[in-house]
């Protein structure tokens, strides 16, 4: 009996090890060759060097793209969380006819390709005679990320919070005060988590940004242009840097969720 359990554990261990190797292989190759001292991001590894990070941080296009990405990610995530939170509050706390339909409508963009969102905005802005711009990208990123923020907030607005809100109302707090003085602080960890998730998805989003920008572009679009030059360790450095930033943001989420569980 115990031998069979051991055999099962071993098989599971081997399978998991293979999966982890598969999952981490491209990241490992990417990061390793970002430190390449030679000119190509392929074997042989000619020694450890930070020259490609230096090149990336001195590349004006990458730096501008980075700034634009931070702007797009920050603004679109802030709008997504605010608008998504308000909608979640409205639908969780009030009786509205056709609630299921409204909920489905808000969640709809989660069920379509980014391509459709990007194409819709491209065709519409060109029909209106507007040129490509980062504003369109921000608008599009709110379309794709607000439903996520909405879903995350909705999951947090339960009975427990409702009772505390009711208590605040009994003590004379108005709707606005309840919303931003009671409800928002109560689910603050979820709001932060939603913001961080939206941010990591937005600042690195490619297709909507690619379709709707021309001169001022975001970081993934700059990297896309770099790729046309073939294999280049500078791309590895930029890619590793993006990975580092996104992972750090998600660790913030992990921290907040962890704090929430202890409370």
């Amino acid at each position: 009996m115990s031998r069979r359990v051991g055999g099962r554990g071993l098989a599971a261990g081997i399978y998991m090890a293979i999966c982890y190797v598969f999952i981490f292989l491209p990241v490992a190759v990417l990061v390793l060759f970002s430190f390449q001292a030679g000119d190509l991001p392929v074997p042989p590894f000619r020694g450890f060097s930070l020259r490609w990070y230096e090149a990336a941080f001195n590349d004006g296009r990458l730096v501008d793209g980075f700034a634009n990405s931070l702007l797009v990610g920050g603004v679109s995530s802030a709008i997504s969380v605010l608008v998504g939170f308000l909608a979640a509050f409205g639908l969780a706390r009030y009786e509205i006819p056709g609630k299921a339909l409204l909920r489905a409508l808000i969640m709809l963009p989660l069920a379509v390709s980014y391509l459709l969102v990007g194409m819709g905005l491209l065709v519409s802005t060109s029909a209106l005679g507007l040129g490509p711009s980062l504003v369109t990208v921000i608008v599009g990123h709110v379309v794709i990320n607000m439903p996520l923020a909405f879903a995350i907030c909705q999951a947090q607005l339960g009975e427990h919070q409702r009772r505390i809100e009711a208590a605040a109302r009994d003590l004379g707090a108005g709707t606005f005060r309840v919303l931003f003085g009671i409800t928002a602080p109560m689910i603050a960890p979820a709001l932060v988590a939603a913001f961080c998730l939206c941010f990591t998805l937005s600042w690195d989003e490619f297709l909507i940004a690619y379709l709707n920008t021309r001169f001022a572009v975001t970081l993934p679009v700059v990297i896309w242009d770099l790729l046309r030059g073939g294999l280049n360790p500078e791309t590895n450095a930029a890619g590793s840097f993006i990975f580092l930033v996104s992972i750090s943001v998600m660790l913030v989420v992990e921290f907040f969720l962890w704090r929430k569980r202890r409370v």
């Binding site: 491209p26 991001p41 308000l86 709809l108 963009p109 069920a111 459709l116 194409m119 029909a127 294999l231």
Partner: protein
Amino acid sequence: MIRRKPPAGLLFALPALAWIGLFFLIPVLIMAGYSLHPLTDAGTPGPLSIADYAAFFAEPAYVQALADSVITTIVVVIASTLLAYPFAWCIACVVPKPYQRIALIAAILPFWTSYVVRSYAWLLALSPVGAVNKTLLALHIVSHPVMFAYNPQATEFGFVHFFLMLNTLTIYASLAQINPRYELAARDLGASAWRGFLTITLPLSIPGVAVGAFLTIVLCIGDYVTPQILGGFRELLLPQLIMMQIQRQLDLPMASAMSLLLTVLVALAYLSLQRWLRMARL
């Protein structure tokens, strides 16, 4: 001035609904309108007609791309589900509870590699001068570099890598919700381990599988970057055709028609998975 007071809850939901309406639904409707006014020879939108849709289905290369997109997506859904299910099961049922969270986080960490860079990283690994080929050559497993990259299989490979992570997450989430006592009860009543899994755990986890499959379909069929970087140029997928219409042909009506066809495919996928998607509480 508002005369008839609308329900207060609707006011809170209004910004969200307005945003979706103004910046998603209306643009898609405008796009649908565009697709019904094919370009004239002068390059301006012509009169109302479904000529672009007819032209799409009359062009074998386009229909081929549509079919290839569907086949690629189906292959990716099946392969990533088959790989992810045992992986998620191992994390949920073999890894001890205190370590499950860290095992799961590790399994989805590369999810946050830059989207554009992820396919490029596979290119680095799989290219004829890449790490995998160099390793195989050094070990004398092959005598010449193998063309792993620049073909449809490389596209599928890149997709499966990404969606393995996504499906592991959704399947784990649904496995973790299942009360283990159900399977134990079946075992007490004499079911074998296999039978317990097949009749209890597997059916209860299907909603999670369906959610993962649907997300895979949505993200896979509309993806441009992975086939463009890894796929080579022998076989183009629908999103690549759409980008060609925009960039080379400057034909927005045709690109709009193709985008809507792609959306119809996603809607069909949704309808066929609807039964299980409704049951999911992830």
